[in-house]
């Protein structure tokens, strides 16, 4: 949720003009007023659907709110944060989430780049192929997770049948049962699902590059690998960073893949699954809100790093 709310906030912040000096004409003051007037409905809606729930969650994080207790919650200070901080299961979920994010985003970037480069060349049926690669991305996550869950089944799953047939394994493997294997399974499904998103963003960036650059590189006698690292990559660095940060933010708050595919034991939880368990399974609304706020803080941190990096990139270009 922080992605849509964080990004426009940044743009509006830079777009807001400094307080107009006295010499500014009547007209431009009127324009500023009109701009705010037009923005108002959007701001109100954003405040209601994003701001209010977020503030409420922050408030609950400092109380002993409990679902099975009908009395109004009381303020308990930082107690919930301390409890979550001391919980080894929380740190296990943090490790799981970071590991998942690191590996899956890396694989998605590399694969996405390879596919984008392929789709960027001219060949027959390119349009159809471009549409086709988007299919996994269009399937709702929970549906694809369930589908892969069946394919990963140890006794009748198609993946084991295939691997057995090809001779990669001697005995069927229970992909989703063991916490170590289920992490691999979750990453595989995520890579399958979101590589198209990466491909799409990278392809859009690649199409912006002028042909003359490549002709010049060719004249200079540069090979394709050299061209990629010396010409293509530096030129699409900005859009690639945007794509990566979007994926990182999205991967940090992963919930459905873990929830559907793994056994949900404390060893195979993501941070969002942990927060849900505290809130609804254990009725500890306050504790769950604290965990959710900490997840929010991690995501906000990544967003801040991105904003700083993005600004320096702009300055570099200027």
């Amino acid at each position: 949720m922080s992605v849509p709310s964080g990004v426009p906030a940044a743009t509006t912040a830079t777009a807001t003009p400094a307080p107009p000096p006295a010499s500014v004409s009547q007209l431009s003051r009127q324009r500023v007023r009109a701009a705010w007037l037009f923005l108002l409905p959007t701001l109100v809606v954003l405040g209601m659907v994003a701001g209010w729930p977020l503030l409420r969650t922050f408030w609950f994080a400092f109380t002993n709110a409990n679902l099975s207790n009908p009395e109004p919650p009381q303020f308990v200070g930082l107690e919930n944060f301390a409890t979550v901080w001391d919980d080894p299961d929380w740190w296990q979920s943090v490790r799981n989430t970071f590991f998942f994010t690191g590996i899956s985003v890396t694989l998605e970037t590399v694969l996405g780049m390879m596919i984008a480069l392929t789709l960027n060349t001219r060949f027959r049926g390119r349009g159809v192929l471009r549409a086709a690669v988007l299919v996994p991305w269009a399937i709702p996550t929970v549906v694809s997770a369930r589908m892969w869950g069946w394919m990963f089944h140890d006794v009748y799953g198609v993946i084991n049948a295939m691997f057995l047939h090809l001779g990669f394994i001697d005995a069927p493997i229970a992909w989703t049962a063991d916490p170590r294997l289920s992490m691999a399974a979750v990453i595989a499904v995520d890579v399958w699902k979101t590589t198209p998103f990466m491909t799409l963003l990278l392809l859009a960036a690649l199409q912006m590059l002028p042909d003359e650059l490549y002709e010049a590189a060719k004249l200079d006698g540069a090979g394709p690998i050299r061209v990629f690292f010396k010409v293509t990559l530096p030129l699409i660095r900005g859009p690639m960073l945007v794509a990566i940060i979007f994926r990182v933010l999205d991967a940090m708050r992963v919930f459905d893949l873990f929830y559907v595919l793994t056994t949900n034991s404390s060893e195979s939880m993501s941070m969002a699954v942990y927060a849900r368990q505290q809130m609804f399974e254990f009725q500890e609304l306050g504790l769950g809100a604290a965990a959710a706020s900490m997840l929010f803080a991690v995501i906000a941190m990544f967003t801040a790093v991105y904003l700083v990096l993005g600004r320096s990139a702009v300055e570099e270009a200027a």
Binding site: S68, N69, V155, A174, S266, E267, F282, Q283
Partner: protein
């Protein structure tokens, strides 16, 4: 024409009052096995009799997920569901949101039900739920395969492991390479709490938390029980049991790919259904003992029906509950789908026994089933259950030693229970 109009007018006058009183009652039905279908049949029969309408709400199969959904509904005071299907461990947790059913159920009807369940469903003097069907873990086995390989049904877990291994290996050698020795439920969900409690109780290792509130889980018998269970994984049980729930295990057993299965009574009717590949080849006995000094046990399960306090027409909803938990309906459900009645006299009913011959021999298991420590831990039960099953799951997937895990668990639960006061 005038005649027609007159008739129409008369029809409207007659019809209006019935329309005004015909209400729609929403009931949440379970979805394990044929539960949904039977719930629907029962509810529709009531609708026909009472002139009201029923709306069926289906939920997730996993009990803890369903609890999550119900809690959100109830804490928001939503009137969308009138009748809730409540697990035996929930009355303490959700009781505040349900009406007292005592005024709707006569005393002698209530006395026909197992007293232990009625007591379980009574919270603060209020009868918050009516017993609907009861459950205990049972051992299913393929009698044809045991006979074929000259094996006897096991009485201890150790024997079960030997028999399962012998039959599994012989069958695999004969070309049936998907054959598994023993399937059970070990997904880190409420169902693993039930399975693991059975192992520990069968070794006489207690019930996690005693009735006095003291945590008892860290004891040598419990360690032995978990060690035994962990030794099955990868030898007689597929690694996949670590992600099986009831239906996952039944899928493997009923397709003919397992020698033994631990499951609830509902699986009996399905295993013997006309389209079942193992029809007529299955037998049911009590779960094995933990060694010669152990005991036969099963975890007490079962479901109740409760009426939401936020229902717009609680009297009508209570009438539906009364109908569904009546002896006639419980008998019907026992005959067509093997749902264990909560009414003792039905265990002597000839028609019920004809379809479920295992009821007589297992009556002792049903009445001596081990209860999960939900009453003593109250609102903290789901947390206790989660800590327990997570520890067991780690032992089963061999990422931790039972000795260390149970020691940690003891400490965690003692912190949670504030020295037994809960």
């Amino acid at each position: 024409m005038r005649n027609v109009l007159k008739r129409l007018a008369a029809a409207t006058i007659v019809a209006v009052p019935t329309f005004a009183t015909a209400e729609t009652v929403a009931i949440s039905c379970g979805t394990v096995g044929q539960e949904f279908e039977q719930c629907k049949l029962g509810a529709e029969a009531w609708a026909k009799k009472s002139g009201h309408q029923v709306k069926l709400v289906s939920g997730p199969t996993d009990a803890s997920e369903q609890l999550t959904m119900f809690q959100q509904q109830l804490s928001a005071g939503a009137s969308d569901i009138d009748v809730y299907r409540v697990d035996v461990v929930w009355p303490g947790l959700l009781g505040a949101h349900f009406i007292d059913l005592k005024p709707y159920v006569s005393k002698d009807v209530l006395e026909q039900h197992f007293p232990a369940i009625v007591e379980n469903n009574t919270v603060g003097g209020k009868l918050v739920a009516m017993p609907w069907f009861t459950d205990a873990g049972l051992l299913y086995y393929r009698k044809d395969l045991l006979e074929k390989h000259g094996q006897k049904p096991p009485t201890t877990w150790q024997e079960l492991a030997t028999v399962a291994k012998t039959v599994q290996d012989a069958e695999r050698k004969a070309g049936n390479d998907k054959m598994q020795g023993f399937v059970f439920q070990a997904k880190a969900a409420e169902t693993l709490t039930c399975n693991a409690l059975e192992w520990i109780d069968s070794f006489r290792g207690g019930t996690i938390i005693g009735e006095d509130g003291k945590v008892t889980i860290n004891n040598p018998k419990a360690v032995e029980a978990l060690k035994t269970a962990a030794s099955w994984i990868g030898t007689i049980s597929p690694q996949g049991v670590l992600n099986y729930e009831e239906e996952g295990a039944r899928g493997v057993f009923q397709s003919g790919n397992a020698v033994f299965m631990r499951n609830w009574p509902y699986a009996w009717a399905l295993a013997n259904a006309p389209d079942s590949p193992v029809k007529g080849k299955v037998a049911v006995i009590a779960l094995p003992k933990g060694g010669a000094e152990g005991k036969s046990t099963g975890t007490l399960g079962g479901w109740q029906l409760a009426v939401s306090k936020y229902s717009k027409h609680p009297e009508i909803a209570a009438d539906l509950v009364k109908y569904l938990t009546s002896p006639e309906e419980q008998k019907r459900r026992a005959i067509v789908a093997s749902f264990n009645p909560t009414i003792a006299s039905l265990y002597k009913d000839a028609e019920v026994l004809k379809v479920n011959p295992f009821y007589t021999s297992l009556l002792e298991t049903f009445t001596n089933a081990v209860a999960r420590p939900s009453k003593v831990t109250g609102a903290k039960y789901s947390r206790v259950s989660a800590e327990f099953r997570n520890a067991v799951h780690a032992v089963l997937s061999k990422t931790a030693k039972p000795e260390d895990k149970l020691k940690d668990l003891q400490k965690k639960l003692e912190n949670l229970g504030r020295g037994g006061k809960w």
